[in-house]
């Protein structure tokens, strides 16, 4: 999957956001994460997290998250509840790259399950706050990393597609359809040699080595505008 040039997100330092109203719980989780060499950012409430996020985006216009990260979110909190925060994040479209693990009391399991169905990464019942939790956090971070890498690859391809000339885009379309160069030359009314040049340029720009790889990249990317 990963190509020769590794996207930046893959190498960024992962960060765990812990949102819980109980100071002791936050502190204990941070301690546990540190013992597993994970960095954590602690927030006293959902509102505090939202404030933090707003400030972050005010300073840095890049879409957040730009590094692998995950949210450990207490379901029941005074003020904005975990559930409300989750709904807001879903609405903002951050969830695929931002896995959310809910911390729940035993009474809230049903709610937590419902959130998982709506895209939360997982939920952990409250007293269970040991390495198993950290394992899930790591899995979430990995998930986040993969999402970010995919996003970056896709962004790169889009950029490459945008770089193609019209002629190159035409040639690419026919190549992806599986036409031999000769037929492409006939169809476009140009020489086979020219077709070969275009084809080489397309392969170069799209950073692929074969027509199959090109087709694969385009499928992942979605229908490239200009071709079909």
């Amino acid at each position: 999957m990963s190509s020769a040039s590794t996207p930046s997100a893959a190498s960024a330092i992962p960060l765990v956001h812990v949102i819980d109203d109980e100071e002791v719980v936050r502190d204990a989780l941070a301690w546990l994460l540190r013992s597993r060499r994970l960095l954590s950012e602690l927030h006293a409430s959902a509102d505090a997290f939202v404030d933090w996020l707003d400030q972050r985006e005010a300073h840095d216009p890049r879409p957040w998250p730009d590094a692998p990260c995950c949210l450990v979110l207490d379901l029941r909190m005074p003020g904005t509840t975990g559930l409300q925060l989750f709904d807001r994040l879903v609405a903002q479209g951050r969830i695929p790259a931002l896995p959310v693990i809910f911390l729940t009391g035993h009474g809230d399991v049903a709610t937590a399950v419902a959130t998982v169905k709506r895209g939360a990464f997982d939920f952990i019942e409250k007293p269970l706050a040991n390495n198993a939790l950290v394992d899930r956090i790591e899995a979430a971070l990995e998930h986040s990393r993969v999402q970010l890498v995919q996003r970056e690859v896709a962004l790169g391809r889009q950029r490459a597609l945008d770089d193609l000339t019209d002629r190159e885009r035409e040639v690419m379309g026919l190549v992806v359809e599986g036409q031999p160069n000769k037929r492409i030359a006939d169809r476009l009314g140009i020489s086979v040699r020219t077709v070969e040049v275009h084809r080489a340029r397309v392969f170069d720009k799209m950073q692929v080595k074969s027509a199959v790889e090109l087709a694969n990249a385009l499928r992942v990317q979605g229908p490239a505008d200009g071709t079909a």
Partner: protein
């Protein structure tokens, strides 16, 4: 009912009806007397008329008979051919008594007496009675026509006499043959025969006739009987030279009243008879209507009686059943006939054999007592037996049966089958118990949930710290998996030497959190440990509040609410109440929990999330202590007061509706009531109740009633 409709029509009419009757009778009397009077006066006038007619008739007749001999006499005087002889004349006219021929100077020339009567001048000579002749002849001479004299009385031998009248006829001179020929013919006529002749007419049979002279003296009378003097007729008989008055006197007297009164009575009586007959017909019609109404009423009663679910039973003095309605038969499962045909000495079939002796004794006792005073509204309980042998409790209300003549005839009893009611009571009791048990269970569940939440936090913290410490002490291979992502260290396997200083804060935290968890457990334990059988105790209000405060605080923290508790100043008398500690604590817990749950809604802003407990002496009654639980939540639904009486009524989506119900029950057991009302100032709700103040134990009061305002997160 029909009887009432007739009754409403009557009230005003008896007086009116009486007046009508009086008026009718008065009219009848007036009509009757008028009838009598009119009849009498008619009869009067008719009799008078008849008398007048008779008088006229008789006068005519008399006049004719007076004038009838005149032509013959004239013929005789003139000496006409064919003139009757004197003898014929006397025979024809029996009233003619004497014929005299007189000279011009009225001296007698010839006398002829009638053979048909006594000689008129036998007693008193003609000379003495010549005055009348002179008068008549003078008149005749003057008029040159026959003239009658006035009447005069001539006695007869034997003491009687007769009234006579002279008729003087002048004999014309030419006829007189000789010079001394008589120039007057004088006929003497007796009036009485004439009158009798006239009276012989059948028409005059009932009348007395009298001839009256010009001087009013009676001259002659005739007629079968004496006149009554009531109906008189007078007729004047004019004769040449004289006049007579004929007076008739009817024998019919004044019509008497009595026969007419009888007629009137008969008429009146028959009228009355008609009236009575009419009244009778009306009465019969009314009676028929009343009978119909009675039948309707009877049917109505019958229906009422058979629709009763209360058993009715009548017994005579011996205890024999004389009547039983359908409900009673249904109740005991025996039909009325076999109930009534039970012999007097045998106990009724619905008496359970084991109680028969007792019942018999009771019956005998009642019979001795006789008719009790009126108020026997208090029934007594008993046990009856159904036909299938099943015993069932009944409530019996007895009333003496007294017949129309005031004799005590027996007893009428209303019998209520209590088995259904007993079952219902039992069911209600069980339900109440289940409800309380359910409420306790709900409270326990709530507590468990609270506990788990409260314990979760320290336990989660402890678990985290402990895991972290373990991770540090013995690094696990998993930590250093390459897949764990790029760690800041980036190395494959690291064995970090862990110093005690590194572990210390975590271990301290673990101890701290364990301590915290222990406190939670203790607070619950202290609440639960006191579950002892209920016995009223003297409780300090502050202690009650303190006991539930930890649990309330836990929940308040969960929904971010503050708690304020207002107790009176320490200088005042400390507040004590009497009651069951556990129950009252449960009430405080439930109300607090309700209040907190009412505020645990996203629409309630955090500054409004305050739970207040206000405990103070009741302003209205210093012997009671009022408790008020005020929240700033969503308030009460409009029909709260009506609904909350029902068990399982709840305003909360997940509530069971047991909390308030339990509070209500507990407070009722403590002689109080729970009031729910909108909080002032709103929004929110206030629940309040008051408990009787108990005299404090004194010494420990100071400790218990330390007034304060306690804030929580």
């Amino acid at each position: 009912m029909p009887s009432t409709t007739t009754a409403t029509a009557v009230p005003s009419s008896p007086r009116r009806r009486f007046a009508l009757w009086v008026a009718l009778l008065a009219l009848l009397a007036v009509a009757q007397s008028l009838l009598v009077v009119l009849t009498l006066s008619y009869e009067n006038s008719r009799a008078q008329q008849e008398a007048d007619d008779v008088a006229t008739d008789a006068a005519t007749r008399l006049r004719q008979s007076l004038l009838r001999p005149l032509p013959q006499l004239q013929a005789m005087a003139v000496g006409l051919e064919g003139a009757p002889s004197v003898a014929d004349l006397f025979q024809t006219h029996r009233a003619l008594r004497r014929l005299e021929w007189r000279a011009g100077d009225r001296t007698l020339r010839q006398i002829q007496d009638s053979p048909w009567g006594p000689p008129p001048f036998a007693v008193l000579g003609r000379d003495q009675l010549a005055l009348a002749v002179d008068d008549a002849c003078s008149a005749a001479q003057r008029d040159e026509s026959p003239a009658y004299s006035r009447s005069y009385y001539a006695p007869l031998p034997g003491g009687t006499g007769q009234e006579l009248l002279d008729l003087c006829l002048p004999i014309p001179a030419g006829i007189r043959s000789q010079g001394d020929a008589p120039s007057w013919l004088v006929a003497t006529i007796a009036l009485a025969p004439l009158l009798e002749q006239a009276a012989a007419e059948p028409a005059l049979a009932r009348h007395e006739l009298q001839l009256v002279g010009g001087d009013g003296a009676r001259l002659a009378r005739a007629g079968s009987r004496r006149g009554a003097g009531t109906y008189l007729g007078e007729q004047r008989i004019d004769l040449p030279g004289s006049a007579l008055l004929l007076r008739t006197n009817s024998a019919a007297g004044r019509p008497s009243l009595i026969p007419h009164l009888n007629t009137a009575l008969v008429i009146g009586l028959s009228l009355l008879l008609f009236a009575v007959a009419g009244l009778l017909a009306r009465d019969t019609r009314r009676r028929a209507a009343a009978e119909r109404a009675l039948a309707d009423e009877l049917a109505f009663r019958q229906a009422m009686e058979s629709s009763l679910i209360t058993g009715l039973r009548a017994r005579d003095l011996d205890g024999r059943v004389t009547y039983a309605n359908a409900a009673f038969c249904r109740m005991v499962g025996i039909d009325a006939e076999s109930l009534q045909s039970t012999p007097a000495d045998a106990p009724p079939p619905y008496w359970p054999p084991e109680h028969a002796a007792e019942y018999q004794a009771r019956q005998a006792e009642r019979r001795r007592a006789g008719v009790p005073r009126e108020s026997s509204a208090l029934g007594f309980e008993s046990v009856f037996m159904r036909a299938d042998g099943e015993r069932f409790p009944v409530m019996i209300y007895d009333a003496p049966l007294v017949d129309g003549s005031g004799h005590h005839r027996g007893w009428m009893s209303a019998v209520l089958d209590m088995s259904a009611q007993r079952r219902a009571e039992e069911l209600s009791r069980q339900q109440q118990e289940r409800l309380q048990a359910g409420a306790r269970l709900a409270a326990v569940g709530e507590m468990a949930s609270l506990l788990s939440h409260e314990l979760n936090q320290p336990l989660a913290a402890i678990a985290s710290y402990a895991s972290g410490c373990l991770n540090l002490v013995e690094p696990q291979p998993g930590i250093d998996r390459p897949s764990a992502g790029p760690s800041p260290a980036g190395s494959a396997t690291v064995t970090v030497p862990v110093s005690a200083a590194q572990l210390r804060p975590a271990l301290e935290r673990i101890a701290e959190q364990a301590e915290r968890a222990g406190r939670v457990i203790r607070s619950v334990h202290s609440l639960v440990a006191r579950r002892r059988p209920a016995e009223p105790q003297t409780l300090a209000c502050a202690q009650l509040v303190e006991a539930v405060l930890p649990l309330v605080r836990m929940q308040a923290r969960k929904c971010g609410a503050r708690i304020e508790i207002a107790l009176p100043e320490p200088s005042q008398r400390p507040l004590h109440v009497s009651g069951d500690r556990t129950m009252l604590e449960q009430v405080l817990l439930n109300l607090s929990r309700n209040a907190l749950q009412a505020m645990d809604d996203p629409s309630v802003p955090s500054e409004r999330r305050v739970l207040r407990w206000r405990i103070d002496t009741d302003a209205a009654n210093p012997e009671r202590i009022e408790w008020a639980c005020i929240d700033g939540g969503l308030g009460l639904p409009p029909d709260f007061d009506r609904q909350r009486a029902q068990a399982f009524f709840t305003t909360k989506p997940e509530g069971m509706g047991l909390g308030l119900s339990l509070c209500r029950t507990v407070l009722e057991q403590h002689g109080s009531q729970l009031h729910g009302e909108p909080a002032v100032p709103g929004p929110g709700a206030m629940f309040r109740f008051s408990l009787a103040r108990a005299p404090g134990p004194g010494s420990e009061a100071g400790v218990a009633a330390s007034p304060r305002t306690i804030g929580s997160p």
